[in-house]
């Protein structure tokens, strides 16, 4: 029996993006000893650090805070609009909570000192890294204990209760044991599993995967938002939102490799509404991916942004007023200035940006296992089948609730020390991946391409079955892959091996749900079921793992506050109906 350093706390929070930091603050504030463990550095992690954050809330509350905000707006209108954006698949209780609590969460961030860059009808604009800095400062003041560069490999479960987790210290190369009364997972999405990703490099969905392995339920896993018009280039700039914002600012045509304006092929009303709001993610991602499927994409699989040269001066002035020096939050894009006006233009396309589904939670953000809670992107979202409003507001709302719920639970629960054999089994499983093998990056490269192509903005039965077959086989083959060198300290290939296992788990869960959902809804678009069916499919798919296979159930959406229209309509017809149901509030959200 090896002896591991053991860190005890009332509440363990995994992940230091916005949701994890907010959860840790709530837990510590409520009187619980709180440990926050993070795979990367704090506070520079998660999707939050890269968020071009427009914190959304109802415009009336925003207006009352003294910002530009739409005074005619109300919480009910905001609720209704998010419901239509989510194709009525939203968990209405979670959505009520989001709408009701958003003003408090935004207000406190402002009080804590985030800089507000601008505001619009329903949002204030700031940067994710400002939010992280502020939350970190407060979390330190509340006495949260931090562990950086430690990747949790698995949860520790005794009976039906989660009692902590095992972590791998990436930099120092050793295992740590975390023993806690309650555990909050806030590890974000699994962007890393996709060829094109708008998230940072560590987002491999570790928390959702370990929750699945521990026997927790997940829900809505088929819904993945791809941000449209992200920058495509074979470099670390791939997936940047610079070009997404650029198109939002400038509008205009999007071309395929043959020079055809691809937006012209679709319903004018839908396109005009989509281009001028954050519906653009779902619609333009679909449109661009279709060009790729039809063989009309650029060398990187994308479409092109190009501006008519007669407007050059005006355009440059507009861009430079928003992006001085063509710099986007620290990133240099000045080389695009020349490309934007020349054929074929700047190559752009969809990148994995947001995961609507995740660990299945109740309105207090507890998961289906005792002692386990989840927040932010790793939990099921209130956004249903399509997210248009801000995930940054959501991470704060759910983080605060999950942290407080975990703390309350910890007050009533005993600290159950994980048994030695439980710890040993988890460590032993993680150690197996240290075994040298075929280069793990070769398997990872295959995964990225497969999942982007088959679980991307357009899916079909054949592709999903192919992907499931691939993932099942890859899980077996994984035993032959591993690091190519044995050094313990900062062995990235070892970390990648652990991440690959998690990504394969989530690909399997997501493809299983996507195959079951024989319709198109929100960001789940099936070319073989190109319609939305409100008579049969207003239900969520809940998955749970036992003995290495997935069990599933359908959960009818409780339409407590508002009911969806009935009937079965073509996908674009449905989008049009939903857009027309919008309240009288304008703006991007």
């Amino acid at each position: 029996m090896s002896v591991y350093e053991t860190i005890r706390s009332d509440v363990l929070v995994i992940g230091a993006g916005g949701a994890g930091l907010r959860a840790a603050i709530a837990s510590a504030e409520n009187g619980s000893s709180t440990v926050l463990v993070n795979k990367g550095s704090i506070p520079k992690s998660g999707a939050t650090v890269m968020a071009d954050s427009d914190l959304t809330l109802d415009g009336n509350s925003l207006n009352k805070m003294g910002f530009f905000g739409e005074p005619r707006d109300s919480k009910d209108k905001f609720f209704h609009d998010i419901l239509t954006q989510g194709f009525y698949l939203n968990d209405q209780e979670l959505l009520r909570i989001y709408v009701n609590r958003a003003p408090d969460r935004v207000k406190e961030l402002i009080d804590w000192g985030i800089p507000v860059e601008s505001s619009e009808e329903r949002a204030i604009e700031t940067a994710g890294y400002y939010i992280l800095d502020v939350l970190y400062k407060i979390a330190k003041e509340k006495g949260v204990q931090f562990f950086e560069d430690v990747m949790i490999t698995d949860l520790l479960r005794e009976g039906d209760r989660i009692v902590g987790a095992v972590g791998w210290d990436i930099v120092r190369g050793k295992f740590l044991v975390f023993s806690s009364k309650a555990t909050v997972i806030a590890t974000g999405g699994w962007h890393k599993a996709f060829l094109h990703s708008a998230g940072s490099r560590e987002l491999s969905g570790d928390g959702i995967a370990m929750a699945l392995r521990a026997g927790a339920e997940v829900s809505d896993m088929e819904f993945i938002t791809f941000c449209a018009n992200t920058f495509y280039e074979k470099s670390s700039r791939d997936g940047s939102l610079f070009t997404y914002i650029l198109h939002f600012l400038l509008g205009g045509p999007i071309y395929n490799i043959n020079g055809e304006n691809v937006l012209k092929k679709y319903d004018e009303y839908v396109v005009s509404k989509a281009v001028s709001s954050e519906w653009n993610k779902a619609i333009i991602s679909y449109v661009s991916f279709k060009e790729k499927l039809e063989g009309k994409a650029g060398p990187q699989g994308g479409v092109f942004l190009k501006v008519d040269t007669s407007d050059e001066k005006k355009i440059i002035k507009a861009v430079e007023s928003y992006f001085p020096g063509w710099n986007y939050r620290g990133g240099d894009f000045s080389d695009l200035k020349a490309k934007l006006f020349k054929n074929p233009g700047v190559e752009v396309g969809p990148s994995a940006e947001y995961f609507e589904g995740g660990i299945n939670v109740k309105p207090d953000y507890r998961a289906s296992l005792r002692g386990l809670f989840a927040a932010g992107e790793s939990a099921k979202s209130p956004f249903g089948a399509n997210r248009v409003v801000a995930a940054t507001t959501e991470m704060l709302v759910s983080g605060e609730i999950a942290g407080k719920s975990a703390s309350e639970y910890a007050k009533t629960a005993d600290l159950i020390k994980p048994q030695e054999k439980t710890v040993e089994a988890v460590v032993k499983k993680a150690e197996q991946k240290m075994k040298p093998g075929k280069p793990i990056k070769e398997l990872y490269e295959q995964i990225k391409v497969k999942s982007f192509n088959l679980l991307g903005p357009i899916r079909d039965e054949e592709g999903l079955k192919d992907l499931l077959f691939f993932a099942e086989r890859a899980k077996v083959d994984l035993a032959d892959y591993g690091p190519t060198y044995s050094r313990l300290s900062y062995n990235y290939e070892y970390v990648l091996s652990l991440e690959v296992e998690n990504m394969l788990e989530l690909i399997e869960a997501s493809a299983t749900a996507a195959l079951l959902r024989k319709e198109s809804r929100g960001v789940h678009v099936r070319s073989d079921y190109f319609f939305t069916d409100n008579d049969s499919w207003l239900k969520e798919i809940v998955l749970v793992k036992s003995n290495d296979s997935y069990g599933y159930s359908f959960q009818e959406v409780q339409q407590t506050y508002e009911s969806a229209f009935r009937g079965k309509y073509g996908y674009f017809e449905t989008v049009k109906k939903l857009l027309k149901l919008r309240s009288n509030i304008t703006g991007g959200h």
Partner: protein, 100 residues
């Protein structure tokens, strides 16, 4: 090809670190981070630099290294001939990773 000198130190084998020269192709490596990625992916997979989390787009600043003697964000530093890349701080853990 562009030459780049990178600090290497394996705590399990080396008494002290040394600069090692690598050739990376021009064009495919725009930034110093791209060059380090290239070396890791094509020449020596064990090269350690803080990237398991980096954003690669200038936002998170976790890829800061000592480049030609100065602290610089490696994903936003353009690659050119004969650059020297070293850990940010003196107490080196492995290769380009140092105690913060």
């Amino acid at each position: 090809m562009t030459k780049i000198k990178v600090y290497r130190f394996n705590p399990e084998k080396d008494a002290q670190g040394k600069l090692v020269e690598y050739d990376v192709p021009e064009g495919s490596c725009g930034s110093v981070l791209d060059a380090l990625d290239y070396i890791r992916e094509n020449i020596d997979s064990s090269l350690a630099y803080y990237f398991h989390q980096a954003c690669g787009k200038g936002m998170c600043k976790t890829c800061i290294l000592r480049i030609d003697g100065k602290p610089r964000v490696s994903c936003q530093t353009k690659l050119h001939e004969n650059m020297t890349v070293e850990p940010l701080y003196k107490k080196v853990i492995v290769d380009l990773i140092s105690e913060r």
